[in-house]
Symmetry: C2
Subunit: 445 residues, 2 copies
């Protein structure tokens, strides 16, 4: 093809190619998520990348703007999924007759957002969502918190902190401390509290007090209640309980919250994470109606949340009259890989293969049989791809192969092989082929 | 939400939701592909779902028509990938400086085609491609054929036949038997030979003879040569070799083909598949320049190919001046799942979980701790999600759980549990919690 007919090879802005090391890290984490989810009785489902646009849109102006949408071959308005939550709601509404509720699901899939790409943020990324749908019970909250604790522990991302808040308690406190704000003011207060770590307490108090109908005293009281800690670092619930003494539903929610935290702690003795009660966790606007949680890596302050979620009580209301309370959360797979990279904890790529080199073409079949025997024994093995022996050794070296097995006419005739250790450089000759698996096992493969 | 504001929950035509059984089967096969590929020294890569339209288009009018394309937020002409081959060519051209050649890669990913959906064909499906790029050598052909043989053997799809042809030999035979056809006639002859199984030998001969410049005798000779079999079922190469005695490049290719077949057979002693030399395999138009292969399930005649590929000698010519010969193939994951379903060989979904039921709320933390202990021991465990005990038993029954562990106040106090076998209906009480893992292991979990 002449130069002028060629196409420049380039990716779209905000999109990545995934090189082997990154793919190994992603699959390592996906395997852990799937294994832990399955152990906890979750079932894996999948939904298409494309949906009717009307299914995905309507999640807010900012979100709608970022959705990739177009008209398909059949003149349908379609869109690429923006998250896995809305397609899951559609899935549950469409298949409610086939599913056994409570339904525990894992979904792992790419999502697409046409937002401005920044460092560490891409227009295509993978989400891994775990949800329990069809029940509003403390047991389900415990299941969700503990499965994410187990996943992050096995991912070996170092110590982490899962901060758990509660929207029912938080809303009750807002209403109690700022009784005269209009209904929209509660949302404004939630958003402000969510910014606490970013803008600091004085700014939050000031801006809370500026909400219509709010008072400076109320704002201070509210912030004091949610930020007072016990010695263990949890939000101190004693003053909260006193403040809400006459609010029965808040009292019930506080009891449930304490039960959830205690039981979750008991269910994950081996965790490397902490579970911390933190009533300042508000999770923005969202659709949360009970516990909410956010998880950060202790060794990467400022890196942001790697896993978050909460309870929502009407997942599929846009699609069905059936009430389907649920609780769930998400691991940002690519965020987590980025975090592990920063920590220098990325799981090593698969073991470097042994290389079977072929000195003479008449030994090709013999070499292929040896490679087959090694692979059948579970030893990763590459195979003389370049025509000349020197090129094969160079290839083995560049690939980082620890050992090269060489065979040619004489080895084929005597049923032997030569073995070179690429690290130490020494070579042994005339080893019997019958013992090749044992020989390499002895060397730690 | 009122009824009139609701959105009907429905998928796009030609798209599927993936239920837990199907996802379990897909992941089972993907795990095997990844494991065998890694054992054979292949590295996993990934590319984005979206590319510049100009990267993907130009693969033929029929293909171009099926590509999902649109204008993105930045007014770029973009498209969803139609296969993994073209994005891989772009990937290789873009990253050639970072890759170690020969480069062996596995890529698994969804592709999208706006074609008319038919039974078993969808607009979104997953391809799993293995390729070796940067070398034109028999060793690479052997690697590709044997890795697909090992994958299909481990997938346990029953006996299968991998038919291997060769485009160099086939083209030489066409030129020899039909010397006076124009250049375009060779392509027409290839397409006709590809239809042999479908339309039968007499029709192929008749239509071959009708190509401009062809003769009936030449057409008959050609078909005779490619369809004459040895006792073992392979195309008999003796008459082919005689016919092409003075064609040196064809003779070299025949020797290479025989070497590839013999070495591959030696490399996969444990295979449940056959490798059959079949010179009628033409693989349509395509870009193939050496061996070509197609794989069918012996127990499902007429089901079509589940894995195919071949050698191509200029993967990235659209994107780079560098010559990159390659050999590779594809497993149609969803085709294979469909085949396994028809054979009744779909791998069972993950083991059904034990169910830990909670009789009284004060035992919730105790129950969560027991569930945590079982999971830490690798026993899949579900957990009392419904508020009432009867509902939990009903849920365990509907989920197919083999055993239910029940705990309430008295069990919590005495550190015991009750164990019910759902199949046999018998229940044991007051078992010591400390032995719960051993007890369930004894029962085969």
């Amino acid at each position: 093809m002449s130069k002028k007919d060629r196409t420049e090879p380039r990716r779209l802005k905000g999109f990545r190619d995934y090189m082997p090391d990154v793919m190994a890290a992603r699959f390592h984490i996906m395997d852990i998520i799937r294994s832990e989810a399955t152990l906890a009785g979750f079932q894996v489902i999948g939904t298409p990348a494309l949906e009717y646009a009307v299914t995905l849109l309507g999640q807010g102006e900012e979100t709608d703007k970022q959705v990739y949408r177009f008209v398909d071959h059949g003149e349908r308005q379609v869109a690429l999924r923006f998250d896995l939550t809305v397609p899951f709601a559609r899935f549950v509404a469409e298949h409610q007759g086939e599913l056994v509720f409570p339904f525990k699901k894992l979904q792992m899939g790419d999502v697409w957002r046409g937002e401005n790409p920044q460092k560490g943020r891409f227009r295509e990324f993978m989400q891994c969502d775990l949800d329990i749908i069809g029940v509003d019970a403390a047991a389900a909250d415990i299941e969700i918190l503990s499965v994410f604790q187990r996943i992050l522990t096995r991912v070996a991302c170092g110590p982490f902190t899962m901060a758990v808040g509660d929207r029912v308690v938080l809303s009750a406190l807002i209403r109690r401390c700022l009784p005269d704000i209009p209904p929209g003011g509660e949302t404004a207060a939630l958003i402000l509290l969510d910014k606490l770590a970013k803008i600091g307490a004085p700014a939050v108090v000031e801006q809370l007090a500026a909400i219509e109908g709010a008072t400076a005293l109320g704002a201070e009281t509210l912030l004091g209640l949610v930020t007072t800690r016990t010695g263990g670092g949890d939000t101190d619930l004693a003053p909260v309980r006193r403040e809400l003494a006459d609010d029965e539903s808040a009292q019930a929610e506080i009891r449930r919250l304490e039960l959830v935290l205690a039981a979750t702690r008991g269910a994950i003795p081996e965790t490397t994470g902490q579970l911390r009660l933190d009533l300042t966790i508000a999770r923005g606007l969202g659709y949360y109606t009970g516990i909410v949680f956010e998880t950060t890596l202790d060794q990467l302050p400022g890196f942001g949340s790697i896993s978050s979620g909460g309870r929502y009580n009407n997942l599929a209301s846009r699609f069905s009259s059936r009430e389907l309370p649920g609780v769930g959360g998400s691991v940002g797979l690519d965020r987590l890989v980025a975090g592990l990279e920063e920590l220098g904890r990325v799981e090593a790529a698969p073991a470097k293969p042994v290389y079977v080199a072929v000195a003479t073409e008449d030994a090709l079949a013999y070499a292929a049989a040896l490679a087959g025997r090694l692979r059948a024994a579970g030893i990763a093995t590459d195979f003389g791809l370049a025509p000349k022996l020197a090129a094969q050794f160079k290839h083995a070296d560049r690939r980082g192969c620890p050992y090269v097995v060489t065979v040619g006419s004489s080895e084929r005739e005597s049923d032997t092989y030569a073995l070179k250790s690429m690290g130490e450089g020494d070579e042994m000759r005339d080893l019997p082929a019958v013992g090749i698996v044992d020989e390499l096992r002895r060397r730690g493969l």
